[in-house]
């Protein structure tokens, strides 16, 4: 039964080796999907390239469904999976600051490392910025501490919040994703452009 490291089926060091192997898969898929190109990523926000939306939502749906089925088959104990805590205000403000960084910088942290691996120098500049940004946060922490811990809601899942079962929300998420894919295909035909 998973997660294997929690049940001590694999050791802490094996877990780190797995992290490296999982990272290789992560980097390979990101690069193969075109996430090493900032202009392709930014295309999401101009309607000419919806790869980000398609890859991102397909991945979220596949992993969510996988967890649901693994749990139903008794292969994984969902109560031992890390659920990101919800601190309402820092999630909103942090998300908004990241959004500004995304449209100006053209990368997010994972895609920047992926782009650096094939030699994109703008990604190197972005990563330099990341280091400065993280350092600013760790140094200025007392100034943002109040915002960081405000509105602690614990670890609610969105289906609990909406008073639904996991499966019902999962179905809704799939339908939303399909609706967005439909709009994305339409937008790409409407705003065509060449590949970067």
């Amino acid at each position: 039964m998973g997660p294997l490291v929690v049940y001590e089926i694999i050791s802490a060091n094996t877990n780190l080796v797995m992290a490296f192997i999982i990272g290789i898969g992560f980097g390979f898929v990101l690069e193969s999907s075109g996430f090493s190109s900032s202009r392709k990523l930014a295309g999401q926000f101009y309607g000419y390239d919806s790869t980000v939306l398609k890859v991102f939502f397909t991945a979220a749906v596949v992993a969510m469904l996988g967890l649901l089925f693994f749990s139903l088959f008794g292969w994984i104990d969902l109560s031992l999976i890390y659920i990101n805590p919800t601190f309402l205000y820092s999630a909103m403000v942090g998300g908004a600051v990241m959004g500004v960084g995304f449209i100006l910088g053209g990368f997010c942290p994972g895609t920047a490392f992926c782009a650096l691996s094939i030699g994109k120098l703008d990604a190197l500049s972005f990563i330099g910025g990341l280091v400065i940004g993280v350092l600013l946060f760790t140094e200025a922490f007392p100034l943002v501490e109040e915002l960081f811990y405000a509105e602690n809601m614990g670890t609610p899942t969105i289906n609990e919040f909406l008073n639904m079962s996991r499966g019902t929300f999962g179905l809704i998420l799939i339908l939303i994703a399909l609706g967005m894919f439909f709009v994305a295909e339409w937008a790409e035909k409407k705003f065509p452009r060449e590949e970067y």
């Binding site: 192997i21 990272g23 926000f45 398609k54 596949v62 919800t86 999630a91 990241m98 997010c108 670890t155």
Partner: protein, 174 residues
Amino acid sequence: MNEDRSKKYLNPYLGGTLLGLVLLTAFYFSGRGLGASGAVKSAVVASVEIVAPTHVETTDFYSNYKESHPGGPLKDWLVWEMLGVLVGGFISGAFAGRLKLKVEHSPKITSKVRLIFAAIGGILFGFGSQLGRGCTSGSALSGMAVLSLGGFITMAFIFGTAFALAYIARKLWI
């Protein structure tokens, strides 16, 4: 055009499915999702400790971080995962013939402008990811997969803000 495209990059729905399986593998083996910004944080804290050890000892933020991450960056799951990303991205780029040192930018701006805005974007993303407890991978993607309410909120704010500012920033991209 569509034919060229399919040769160049993976079909996005296939890519998304594979990414979802990678994420599921992380949950199954390690009980956690993917991430990226956390690896940068681990490296930053370790570097600050080398440069200014007393500062780390006397600052609450660093001492708390060290207490919750006792092994340092070499025992950090995300650090190993991101090293893997560099290898995996390189392998994919090598197979596809995309290994090349270059600054990618819109023809309307110079390389220098692109590098400056990439750095500014990085600073904001770095700061925001710490405030939001994770970036697009750790908070938005992995958070959504476990149906975390916060993951959905962060995702909506990242993409919502980027869409809202797209018109102002258009010269950088199109």
